[in-house]
């Protein structure tokens, strides 16, 4: 007789909140699945038909008969790769994701599902996590996946010598002392502090599960449990992968996935990719820019899927430098953002307007607040007060630095025009991307792109707090450290109840809006643009590929 799966007490509390309308269905699903409730059970608890619940990220119900075979060709830069734990670009992770897999998968619906894990369980205090591996999964060298491989992967992530960004993300672990092998298919994590985000963290892109004998160079040793095997990886040229015949996930036709025979990445830039798609030489491209979206959106051979994200371009001000050390000036610049115009001109209107805070509507505990209006008169009044006090003349001359990349030049130029009426005279200093990345933490006023993170409390600890010694953390480009903000952020990290957490996040949003160091006009949409014959394609906010269940209509 099978035992009933245990439902975490916090998940049961969430059922009550859902029924009373205190949280919405999306938040409920995300929250309860993080606590180890299966997606089907979560849907059932939410009062939805469990049959409708997708069991995995990459396998939505297919319409019509699935056909096997075919090649998918994608334009994407082929970068140097060595150790997957050291990945710092999504492009590299998309290549590795074909060969190696993750313990969990967070889909575009922000719901985290088991992948290599069969299930997980959190203790009542959310400090002990028990991870149960699926049995019968084989690496492409024939070895079984066991807890030893997972422990080895953790040891790589937590080894400072390796230099993985997982080290910071898993800061609640006391090194390998916190990672315990229970049996061949069970691992226990003993956290120093409660954290509900563990399953999401296990899908951070450097967290690919490695074979226990991995030596540190993935190109030489591409051993993984994934649906494809590496054929060739030529940095700056191309990479190709062929389908495995003994992959563990089954397709809807009863045979092992993947449906496609081959995946080929061609290392060309975006302009060339767009031309190649139009010419039929490529099927899709990595992370289309707004101009690529415009170029391809009316092409009848292509399908486009959009997804809301937490990607943003922040106009960030260094609060340790004049004039940005004065909150009136910071507020004035924020008021000078004509957000809708900036969104329209720099991103074709394809996004969601934002507060001047680093919390996105896609984040589970986001608290709704009115979007501030464009108010140049109010900004001018603040600047006049500041100028009178300082004995300077308006317009206030400032230099805005950024890079000539995705949408930064358009944001900078639109802000410059919008801010003129508010008393700013902005000189633009726009360099090629590396020219900005060399100094992104140093310039007094800049526009920096921040990538999507699925959890609301992932970016602020990177960008808006101080370290234990009171110095701004390395990525705190604004040097803004606010005692109340830091305290409430800590509270938010430790608060597991959704409602209570949303209340704190709302307070954090208010603090950033009132005295924070950034202007943030909008959150971008991302697009997956691909030929119509490819089915089961997923647009993911972090631009991750899930090609194991994609099939090509013949």
């Amino acid at each position: 007789m099978m035992s009933e799966p245990r439902i975490h007490p916090l998940a049961l509390t969430a059922v009550d909140k859902l029924q009373r309308g205190r949280i919405n269905r999306r938040e409920f699903l995300r929250y309860t699945t993080l606590l180890g409730v299966s997606v089907g059970t979560a849907y059932a608890l939410a009062g939805c038909a469990p049959a409708a619940a997708p069991a995995s990220v990459g396998a939505p119900a297919a319409a019509g008969g699935i056909t096997r075979g075919g090649t998918l060709r994608k334009g994407m830069l082929i970068q140097q790769i060595d150790h997957p734990a050291r990945l710092s670009w999504v492009e590299g992770s998309n290549a590795i994701r074909l060969v190696n897999e993750y313990l969990t998968e967070t889909g575009p619906d922000n719901i985290t599902r088991p992948s290599l894990l069969e299930s997980w369980e959190a203790s009542d205090d959310v400090k002990t996590w028990t991870l149960k591996l699926r049995q019968g999964i084989k690496f492409n060298n024939g070895d079984d996946l066991t807890a030893d491989d997972v422990l080895y992967s953790f040891s790589q992530w937590l080894d400072p010598e390796v230099g993985s960004s997982m080290l910071g993300l898993l800061s609640y672990l006391d090194g390998m002392n916190s990672v315990e092998k229970v049996d061949d298919y069970t691992i226990r994590l003993n956290l120093a502090s409660a954290n509900i985000g563990v399953p999401e963290h296990l899908f951070h892109y450097p967290a690919a599960i490695l074979h226990r004998d991995f030596q540190g160079d993935w190109v030489k040793q591409p051993i993984g449990t994934g649906a494809f095997t590496l054929v060739e990886y030529l940095e700056g040229e191309r990479a190709s992968f062929k389908a495995r015949t003994d992959y563990w996930q089954m397709g809807e036709d009863g045979s092992p996935l993947p449906y496609l025979d081959e995946i080929v990445f061609v290392s060309v830039d975006k302009d060339a990719s767009v031309a190649a798609i139009q010419g039929g030489q490529l099927d899709t491209l990595f992370k289309p820019r707004p101009s690529d979206f415009l170029a391809l959106k009316d092409n009848p051979d292509l399908q486009i899927q959009g997804v809301a994200t937490a990607n943003c371009f922040v106009v960030r001000m260094r609060v340790d430098q004049e004039p940005w050390n004065d909150n009136r000036v910071r507020t004035a610049l924020k008021m000078c953002q004509d957000r809708q115009k900036i969104l329209d001109l720099s991103y074709n209107g394809e996004g969601v307007l934002s507060l001047d805070a680093h919390f996105s509507p896609v984040h589970p505990a986001y608290a709704e607040r009115p979007i501030p209006a464009y108010d140049p008169e109010g900004a001018l009044a603040l600047l006049e007060e500041y100028a009178a006090e300082k004995g300077i003349q308006l317009p206030l001359q400032v230099t805005l630095s950024t890079k000539n990349d995705l949408s930064e030049p358009e944001i900078a130029q639109t802000l410059r025009e919008s801010a003129a009426a508010g008393g700013f005279d902005i000189t633009l200093d726009i360099t090629e991307p590396n020219g900005y990345w060399d100094r992104w933490t140093e310039v007094p006023l800049g526009i920096t792109i921040w990538a999507h993170r699925s959890l609301d409390t992932m970016v602020p600890p990177l960008a808006y707090i101080a370290d234990a010694d009171g110095n701004p953390v390395p990525w705190n480009e604004t040097r803004w450290v606010d005692a109340e903000f830091s305290e409430k952020l800590r509270q938010a990290e430790l608060t597991l109840d959704i409602e209570a957490r949303r209340e704190i996040i709302g307070e954090l949003e208010d603090i950033m809006q009132e005295r924070g160091p950034i202007g943030n006009s909008y959150w971008t949409n991302e697009w997956e643009i691909i030929r119509k014959e490819f089915q089961n394609v997923i647009a993911h906010p972090a631009n991750f590929d899930f090609y194991y269940s994609v099939w090509k209509q013949q």
Binding site: V274, S291, P409, T431, G435
Partner: protein, 307 residues
């Protein structure tokens, strides 16, 4: 008899006479006249833009990527700015003004492209004539130095310059000078090697003229035809260089328009608004063709005149 009546002077003063001569030479060549007309057209547009454009060139007053209409004759760009107004204002950078400083604003007449080409011709010309005329180790040293410079990809040179000097009009002038001078020097050296075998050079040497006199007064004036044509070609390269430099952040900071940057901006949206790239590209092409026709015609007429 009107013996007291003074007859008007039959000859104009020296400067005017020279101008009249040049004009008569110019008007003698249909090619030169056509080229001059094109250059004067753009010069006129540039001068007009100093006082009037249909819309403020940097104002984001319209919808983005509009096709040509009666309001926006060339349509609008990706930021909703009037392209014709920006093409007009872009002429200033090429032909009319160079900003030595933005705070306080110090502007000198003559466009960035022109000053860059003048710099390249002066530096390259002096190096080339010295290398060609003096020969030996001087030649070897100069040419190897310049060959080393040519061996660098231009983009690398631009990056070195931006790292060392920052950005702005003066840096663009310097960048065009530094990247253009080796080519000019090679040309001038070749011409000098030919000219220095001529009898009038022997005569000057026999007269005991100094090397500097021979190079500056005997050789360079006789090499001016090809140098002039090369310089005119370089104006075109310089206009493109401004676009490249702008792309690298070394050039002219946005939003003020220059044609090269306009091409670069429109390139991003070429599939969505292909016509936007046409106008600045046409402006560059016509001006380059204009200066080349002008240079060709002038050279032909000068050669015939000298014969």
């Amino acid at each position: 008899m009107n013996s007291t009546t003074l007859s008007p002077p039959t000859q104009p003063p020296g400067l005017l006479r020279k101008l009249a001569n040049i004009l008569s030479i110019l008007l003698g060549s249909r090619t030169a006249v056509t080229g001059l007309a094109v250059v004067l057209f753009w010069l006129g547009i540039g001068l007009l833009s100093l006082v009037w454009t249909p819309h403020p060139p940097n104002a984001q007053a319209f919808d983005a990527n509009l096709p040509p209409t009666s309001t926006n004759w060339m349509g609008t760009d990706h930021l909703g700015r009037d392209i014709w107004s920006r093409v007009m204002a872009g002429t200033q950078v090429v032909l009319l003004k160079t900003r030595l400083s933005t705070d306080p604003q110090v502007v000198v007449p003559g466009g960035v492209a022109l000053w860059g080409v003048i710099g390249a011709v002066v530096v390259g010309g002096l190096l080339g004539v010295n290398a060609g005329y003096r020969g030996g180790r001087v030649d070897q040293a100069i040419m190897q130095l310049l060959d080393a410079l040519i061996a660098f990809p231009v983009i690398v040179l631009y990056l070195v310059i931006v790292t060392a000097l920052g950005s702005g009009d003066v840096v663009v002038v310097l960048a065009i000078t530094i990247t253009g001078a080796p080519g000019v020097a090679r040309l001038v050296r070749g011409l000098t090697l030919d000219i220095k075998t001529r009898e009038y050079i022997r005569a000057a040497e026999t007269r005991g003229e100094s090397a500097n006199y021979i190079m500056l007064r005997e050789i360079l004036p006789n090499a001016r035809g090809p140098i002039l044509v090369d310089a005119m070609l370089r104006v075109g390269y310089a206009i493109f260089a401004i676009g490249t430099l702008g792309f690298l952040g070394l050039g002219l900071p946005p939003p003020d328009p220059d044609w090269g940057s306009m091409v670069n901006d429109a390139r991003k949206y070429i599939y969505a608004n292909p016509i936007a790239i046409l106008w600045p590209a046409l402006a560059i092409a016509t001006l380059v063709i204009g200066v080349n026709l002008f240079a060709d015609g002038l050279r032909e007429e000068l050669t015939r005149y000298q014969q």
